[in-house]
């Protein structure tokens, strides 16, 4: 048996660098701290690669399946004899795959940030937060039990908060970070409740016994009913609420576009490649429970995923801030992954959706990180986020242009780029399972191609704008990550996922079905074609279409007014209608009651203090007559 305990260091190294940079960062020169952080990640990256190699190719399979290995485990907090939070490392196909994804993207982003953040205030702070995030995200994926996952789930939330609010002097960044944290926190409430329900039905937090399809936990939990649904279903719906919050699923998606206020490398790492797929990872992690005990919850996952992907894609077509377009595109792609999980079954070819989802997660990480980093390079060059102020940049930024184009092809699903393979599997899985959902996703594929190329053309083609100083290509330290990720975006699709990452860890046979693949290529090409007509040259076609769509366009442009709705709920309902009255009630009713007691005491004493008149003779009279009365009472009346 191979000893995997070194995997602990994959997680711990970023933590150590976080502490190091957090405490002593200001002692170093900025560049030094950047290099320190990056080198730390590089070690983690190498260790992850080694782990993946050993896990997939060296460790003997058990009955043909990849085993679930506990590389390290220690009790962290004990609730009862069976319920305890452990901290440990669980290695199975998806966690190893995630290790690769996270360390790769994080390493690229670190490297890129050395150049991108140059000259910013708080350089070392940035790198320490990045390390913190990487630590938390790695801890999340290698969790051995659901509570460990929750712990790191919260930690990624807070690192995201810190990084979105990195420019803390900018009010919009502060507001965005707050919004992101609170919305995900609300979702985490659901996650926590789900965990609590799990804790009483299964009496364990441990993933291995929870997700063992033949294990006692799965068998007994589904029989207890509450309000018509089994407790397992409830539990999974709540857990999915947590996942939906992190993964920006409708209707908890509103924080993600605003989160683009953070520095662009952060958007690439957290809000595109890694943290936002945590929800997908969570559902994948709990997948046996979803499939076996809570199919209703899985249906919810599928529909939410499908709706979000459509919804986000439509909004993406109308936005002008390039990072927001990418953000909506991320939502849409994550919707794909959720949908794939939702339509999947368990085991063998039934589990195609599961495999496809993980596959898409993997490929998406590369091309979406690439897109964001490109966007960073563009913003770096032209100092604006708005595509209306860009155009004709292909001559100024050749490398960025090329890598961006590759990423666009990948996301649009054009072979042989990575996105094609994974998206094709998803569509195939949806087609086999639910034709309606397939149709939606099919349409979304076209819309995706359209808005990506709209973005591409408006940035790199079109009329050249008047720039305050001539845009120039980013330094090498930024372009190298772009190129490396572009390679990833081309080649990631060739990884044989059906042999490595499947729902029951057993490899299965899978081929590209031309009946699904060809129509999807065609619709992608159609989308690209329309975008070319509209945006390659300056035309007034888009305006005409916009006018035809009328109010629908306006609604989409305003993100279907969800921000306003939430603002209404939080500001008008919670703040004005709940919190303000509570505060008033406390000050006036509850406290008034207490003050009332003192007021009554005060006024009573004010009345009776008249007895203390200072009149000696009055006192004496009372004394004498009292003595007489007592004498009368005690001597005569009492004895009678």
């Amino acid at each position: 048996m191979i000893n995997f305990s070194y995997t602990v260091f994959i997680v711990l190294i970023p933590l150590i660098f976080f502490v190091l940079l957090g405490f002593f960062g200001n002692k170093f020169k900025p560049l030094v701290s950047g290099i320190i952080g990056t080198s730390g990640l590089f070690i983690s990256f190498l260790l992850s690669c080694y782990t993946a190699y050993q896990y997939f190719f060296v460790v003997p399979k058990i009955a043909g399946a990849f085993p679930k290995l506990i590389a390290y485990n220690t009790v962290w907090l004990r609730f009862t004899d069976t319920l305890h939070i452990d901290l440990g490392v669980l290695l199975d196909p998806i966690s190893v795959m995630m290790l690769i994804v996270i360390t790769t993207v994080s390493f690229m982003v670190h490297l890129y940030s050395i150049g991108y953040m140059k000259g910013e205030k708080g350089y070392e702070r940035f790198f320490s937060f990045l390390s913190l995030f990487t630590f938390s995200m790695l801890g999340l994926v290698i969790a051995t039990n659901i509570f460990q996952m929750y712990i790191f789930w919260e930690l990624v939330g807070v690192s995201s908060y810190l990084l979105i609010g990195f420019y803390y002097e900018k009010d919009s960044a502060v507001a965005a970070s707050k919004k992101a944290f609170i919305v995900t926190r609300f979702a985490d409430l659901g996650f926590l409740i789900g965990i609590l329900i799990l804790s009483i039905t299964t009496k364990t937090f441990d993933f291995i016994s929870l997700t063992d399809p033949k294990g006692p936990a799965l068998q007994q939990g589904s029989s207890i009913l509450f309000l018509g649904l089994s407790t397992m279903t409830w539990s999974m719906i709540f857990v999915f609420m947590g996942g939906a919050g992190k993964s920006a699923m409708f209707p908890l998606h509103i924080w993600l576009p605003d989160a683009m206020e953070g520095p662009t490398p952060v958007s690439a790492l957290i809000h595109a490649a890694t943290m936002v797929v945590a929800g997908v990872y969570l559902v994948a992690r709990m997948f046996p429970i979803f499939v076996i005990s809570a199919p209703a919850a899985l249906t919810v996952v599928a529909y939410v995923g499908a709706f979000t992907s459509l919804f986000a894609a439509v909004i993406a077509c109308t936005q002008y801030d390039i990072k927001r377009v990418l953000a909506y595109s991320t939502m849409s792609q994550i919707g794909y992954m959720m949908l794939a999980l939702g339509v999947s079954g368990y085991g063998g070819h039934e589990g195609l959706g599961y495999m496809a989802s993980m596959f898409h997660l993997f490929t998406h990480a590369f091309f979406k990180a690439l897109l964001f980093l490109c966007a960073g390079a563009i913003i770096h060059a032209v100092h604006t986020n708005y595509m209306t102020e860009m155009g004709g940049l292909r001559k100024h930024l050749p490398i960025t242009h090329l890598t961006f184009l590759i990423a666009c092809f990948a996301i649009a699903g054009i072979p042989p780029f990575a996105g094609f393979f994974s998206k094709d599997e998803i569509l195939a899985a949806a087609f086999e399972n639910n034709k309606l959902l397939w149709a939606v996703e099919y349409a979304v594929a076209g819309i995706t191609a359209f808005y990506m190329f709209r973005l591409y053309y408006r940035i790199f083609w079109g009329k050249e704008q008047h720039y305050s100083h001539p845009p120039h290509e980013a330094p090498l330290v930024m372009t190298i990550p772009l190129m490396l990720l572009a390679v990833g975006a081309i080649l990631a699709g060739l990884v044989p996922f059906q042999n490595l990452v499947t729902s029951d860890s057993l490899p299965f046979e899978n081929h590209i079905e031309l009946g699904i693949a060809i129509p999807s290529i065609l619709i992608a090409l159609l989308g690209i074609g329309i975008a070319t007509i509209f945006y390659r040259k300056e035309t007034n076609l888009p305006q005409k279409i916009t006018r035809t769509l009328g109010s629908f366009y306006t609604a989409a442009y305003h993100k279907f007014y969800f921000d306003e709705l939430y603002l209404f709920i939080t500001k008008k309902i919670l703040f004005d209608r709940v919190s303000t009255p509570v505060a008033w009630f406390d000050r006036h009713i509850v406290d008034g009651m207490m003050n009332g007691v003192s007021y009554v005491t005060n006024s009573v004493s004010g009345r009776i203090k008249g007895f203390q008149s200072g009149q000696l003779q009055q006192y004496a009279w009372v004394f004498v007559s009292g003595a007489i009365a007592l004498a009368l009472a005690f001597i005569y009346l009492w004895t009678l």
């Binding site: 203090k609 008149s613 200072g614 009149q615 000696l616 003779q617 004498v624």
Partner: protein
Amino acid sequence: MFEGVPLTWFLIVATIMFFIGIYGFLVRKNLITILMSLELILNSVNINFVAFNKLLYPQHMEGMFFTVFVIAVAAAEASVAIAIIINIYRRLINIDVERIDEMKY
């Protein structure tokens, strides 16, 4: 041994004197007259002491000694009281008990 007058008579006289003193204490306004009422009260008590001593326990002298002490105390009390009254008079130019109510409440 004392003949002719029963103890009760002495007690009745003392009681009447006592309550006259009480009455005076309650109605008089001038501090000095109040002091005089007080002397009446003390005196009535003295009569009681002496009468009990003579008529019930003639073989002892407790009643008499108590009376002596009461008189001494009364003298002390009177001197201090008058000192206080004079002091009050100096400050307030009257010694009306009804107006001396600074320490009320």
